[in-house]
């Protein structure tokens, strides 16, 4: 059962990450391909504070959220100068920069050697060392992320976001400062991604730059596109499918010398099939 618990934790972490990206892409229509960078900043901040200064996980997580939010404010401000495809390219560039920092600032991040020995969370002497307890913690954070996202998207603020997604110029004509709305949701979303990063670092207990590449950003984007844009439920369902699908393929008895390649081929084919079957995503309400 430990294996299922492990999958449950991974699902929770990626569902939080997908929810955060959904707010930016699915609700506001900003095609951001940089979420792995925010996820990484949250993970590295938490890992460095825990391993170097012995800071409690929850304090480190909070610090990760604050630092990520600050960085995202600066990045969001720069990205606000772009529209459409250029926004996607600009955000991708930021992911490359952050990845390079993780990789090359060896005195701080240890580069490709990564940071090992990251402690599991503990609160008032109660340790989340057992995986089942960690799963409970991850699910609590997922519920919080979902609840907050629901609150944001159903508020008047959320309605403005959807309006920006449909026609930003029209919203501006009505006197809304769209830059403020776009920046606010970008920063909020980055903060939520940092929570996922902190959970990841503490769960795996080891991080290195390879977990925060553009591939990871594209993977999260694939989760929300597959699940359905503009739907929080879609983000959670997408995470469930994309985390479980490759694991399900482990049970198919391919010969060992081609098993890894076959899993990837079939995984790819299933994704193509799913997008043909439901181009708007499984429960989506908006198309890019």
């Amino acid at each position: 059962m430990e294996y299922l618990v492990h999958l449950g934790v991974l699902f929770s972490i990626f569902a939080i990450l997908a929810l955060s990206l959904q707010l930016v892409v699915g609700y506001t229509g900003l095609l951001s391909v940089t979420h792995a960078a925010f996820y990484g900043i949250g993970a590295y901040t938490t890992a460095l504070l825990i391993t170097n200064l012995g800071v409690n996980f929850f304090v480190a997580l909070l610090a990760g959220v604050v630092i990520t939010a600050f960085v995202s404010l600066l990045v969001g401000f720069v990205l606000s100068k772009f529209r459409g495809d250029y926004y996607a390219l600009g955000s991708l560039g930021f992911n490359v920069i952050v990845f390079s920092i993780f990789l090359n600032w060896q005195s701080l991040t240890r580069g490709p050697l990564g940071i090992p020995g990251i402690d599991r969370p503990d609160i008032l002497g109660f340790q989340f060392s057992e995986n089942i307890l960690f799963l409970a913690l991850a699910l609590i954070f997922l519920a919080l992320a979902y609840g907050l996202s629901e609150w944001v998207t159903t508020s008047s603020f959320g309605r403005v976001l959807k309006a920006i997604r449909e026609d930003e110029e029209a919203v501006s004509v009505f006197g809304y400062r769209t830059l403020f709305f776009k920046l606010a949701i970008f920063v909020f979303s980055a903060g939520v991604a940092a929570v996922a990063g902190a959970l990841y670092a503490s769960y795996i207990t080891f991080i290195d730059p390879s977990s925060f590449t553009i591939n990871e950003s594209i993977f999260v984007l694939a989760i929300i596109i597959l699940g359905g844009l503009g739907s929080l439920r879609g983000a959670v369902i997408g995470a469930l499918v994309l985390i479980l699908l490759p694991e399900a393929l482990r049970f198919v008895g391919f010969p060992s010398d081609i098993a890894a390649q076959m899993r990837q081929v079939i995984y790819g084919l299933i994704l193509v099939g799913l997008m043909l079957y439901r181009p708007q995503g499984l429960v989506g309400e908006y198309k890019l």
Partner: protein, 364 residues
């Protein structure tokens, strides 16, 4: 809900398969789990590891197994990532019911360390080179000689040849960084100068001519090149094609890497370190099984399976608590394997070879 009908099916399949796997009754087979990089950038190493381990399992079973019980190798791909290594290890231990684990590079080992400590799983790493990694867990052993041994010998060679200005070009994974750091530390302590150090991203940069151009401009006496396979072939090719004839110092057996297929004119002045070439018996058996020569770390994976088998035989039981104290020294495919108190592979004699004619290079 009609459109997401398959999700409960998917969840049900995984839960059912996992439950059935873990609920099987006791078996006579001793299961070794192989947590290897079989996809993504580490796949060439993972494939070598897999073949070496499979060959050892086959041989041991042909001789009657261990304690009269057959060995079985269960394999899971970790996609060359830390999280993938944990997922693969979880699957191997909880679903495939592996009693022992084989793992690869340092990052993968670091990620599964808490798991092997928690579940008390005797684990052997077949390609992690970082110094002292085996000391991190009483259940962790290593058949791969730590990087430092090869580095020491290459530095000694550079000093003997009076190559005082050394440049480093590496790719950016943990193994390469570990080697590079060891080299810098040892070279500087021996009075050599690192005049240039550059890197490129493993597996993604098809063209590294800009890195190579910078390398050319520093005009070093020798180039230390910790770049793993298959990137090493195009790195060597691009270095030589840009007219750099400087000696290249390579930390593992380049003669079994993809570089061996380059035109001979490009393979001059390359000195490589090898603990000892794989034994002739191993090479013959490997060729007979796969029709090709063993690649890097196939021999250490082969030895890892034998190390576990000998430890079980020596302990007379499969209990990990007892087995971990019964690892014995033996003559493996990668040479004499001596385990230190921390489970590390002890000092290994490193030989240097010239790739051009595969002649032994003597260092005074």
């Amino acid at each position: 809900m009609k459109k997401i009908w398959f999700i409960p099916v998917l969840v049900g399949l995984i839960v059912g398969a996992a439950y059935m796997g873990s609920a099987d009754g006791p078996t006579d087979t001793i299961i070794i789990g192989a947590d290897f990089a079989l996809s993504n950038f580490g796949a060439s190493w993972g494939e070598n590891n897999l073949r070496g381990a499979e060959l050892a399992v086959k041989e041991i079973n042909m001789r009657g197994g261990v304690l009269g019980r057959p060995l079985e190798l269960k394999v899971q791909d970790n996609n060359s990532s830390a999280a993938g290594a944990v997922s693969a290890a979880r699957h191997l231990l909880d679903v495939d019911r592996a009693q022992y684990l084989l793992t690869g590079w340092t990052g993968e080992v670091e990620a599964v360390l808490p798991l092997i400590d928690q579940q008390k799983v005797v684990t052997v790493t077949v390609s992690a080179g970082t110094k002292d990694i085996a000391a991190k867990s009483e259940y962790l052993f290593r058949t791969w000689p730590q990087d430092f041994f090869a580095v020491q010998q290459l530095v000694k060679y550079a000093k003997a040849k009076k190559y005082t200005r050394i440049a480093i070009l590496r790719s950016s994974a943990d193994w390469e960084v570990s080697l590079s750091n060891s080299f810098i530390e040892d070279a500087q302590s021996q009075g050599l100068y690192i005049v240039h150090s550059d890197q490129f991203q493993l597996g993604t940069s098809a063209d590294i001519r800009s890195n190579v151009q910078k390398l050319k401009e520093v005009n070093a006496d020798a180039i230390f090149l910790p770049v793993s396979d298959p990137d090493v072939a195009r790195t060597v090719k691009q270095i030589r094609e840009l007219g750099i004839t400087t000696p290249i110092l390579y930390p593992v057996d380049i003669s079994v890497s993809s570089a061996k297929d380059l035109p001979p004119a490009l393979l001059t002045n390359i000195i490589y370190a090898v603990a000892k070439p794989p034994t002739a018996n191993f090479v013959t058996a490997f060729k007979a099984a796969y029709g090709t020569s063993p690649g890097v770390s196939a021999d250490t994976a082969y030895d890892a399976v034998y190390a576990i088998a000998y430890a079980i035989e020596n302990a007379g039981t499969t209990s990990p608590e007892i087995v971990k104290s019964h690892f014995v020294d033996f003559d493996g495919a990668s040479g004499r394997i001596v385990f230190t108190k921390t489970g590390d592979r002890g000092q290994v004699d490193i030989l240097l070879y010239n790739l051009e004619d595969k002649s032994l290079v003597t260092v005074h």
